[in-house]
């Protein structure tokens, strides 16, 4: 073993601090299926390709919601704004799943996943495949339906605080 064979990564704390300086959308991501209904708040969502329309979501495999996301075929990404800030905090915490969902209004998407009413935009998806990277799984999701709330401000998480951005 030589020193050169080991990549020297940035320390974990510095990586987290740096990531806090990359602005991210605030998304409440949901799933429903045989493995149960679950949801979490994630900024790690991005567009992959429009052929077929595909986005990805990174999910921590040790989170309470992970089992459902790793098994169910349905995912809905609900991008939210200031009106859902408390809900985003709830879905980012330790509250039981049932209580999280009881705190807002939903309808069932084509995939079966809960679609949040009055989100800025929702992407109802089927999971095309999953790719495990260390502690996380990357879910590649093909988009079945979208719903856009024109004129609704969105939230951005940056420097460990929420910021509103207008359309």
């Amino acid at each position: 073993m030589t020193a050169l064979s080991i990549p020297v990564h940035v320390p974990r704390g510095e990586f987290r601090d740096a990531m806090a300086h990359l602005p991210g959308a605030v998304n409440i991501v949901t799933t429903y299926g045989a493995a149960g209904q679950a949801g979490l708040t994630a900024s790690a969502v991005c567009s992959v390709t429009d052929d077929p329309p595909t986005l990805l979501v990174c999910v921590n495999r040790s989170s309470s919601a992970a089992a459902a996301f790793l098994e169910n075929p349905s995912v809905c990404v609900n991008t939210v704004g200031p009106r859902h800030q408390d809900l985003a905090i709830l879905f980012g915490g330790k509250t039981p799943m049932e209580d999280r969902f009881a705190s807002a209004s939903w309808e069932k998407g084509a995939s079966g996943a809960p679609v949040l009413l009055e989100s800025v935009v929702s992407f109802d998806c089927r999971v095309a495949h999953r790719h495990v990277v260390g502690t996380h799984a990357v879910l590649f999701c093909e988009v079945l339906e979208v719903a856009i709330a024109k004129g609704e401000p969105a939230s951005v998480y940056f420097a460990r605080a929420f910021h509103a951005v207008s359309q």
Copy 2:
């Protein structure tokens, strides 16, 4: 072949319009190596895991910069703010690579990729692996070094316009 075997995706135009409503950071992503120096502007960057510190970048395989990103082992993600808005537009357009890089100040990162001076945050990375999804490649990048400009505002692209967010 039955109708049920074909997932019915959202039309491409609707997908793009919906994606425009998911706020994204503005990142000038660079590479350097045997396949040349190249850079592009991307919002499709997100954190994957901190063990080892890893982010991902989605690159259109038909872009002028693609060949370099698909071959070189180095990537630097430079997240920018209002001071680099014109540069982000330049790196998102058709300008020759040499002219793009001549328009700003850079230093060489540990990976060899150009690090943009005065970016909000920079992540100098080695590409750990690539994952092709249709028209795009997802680059999984392990982070070697970061640089953070404390107090610097960042830009967010949302509803097809730039927005400044403060620390």
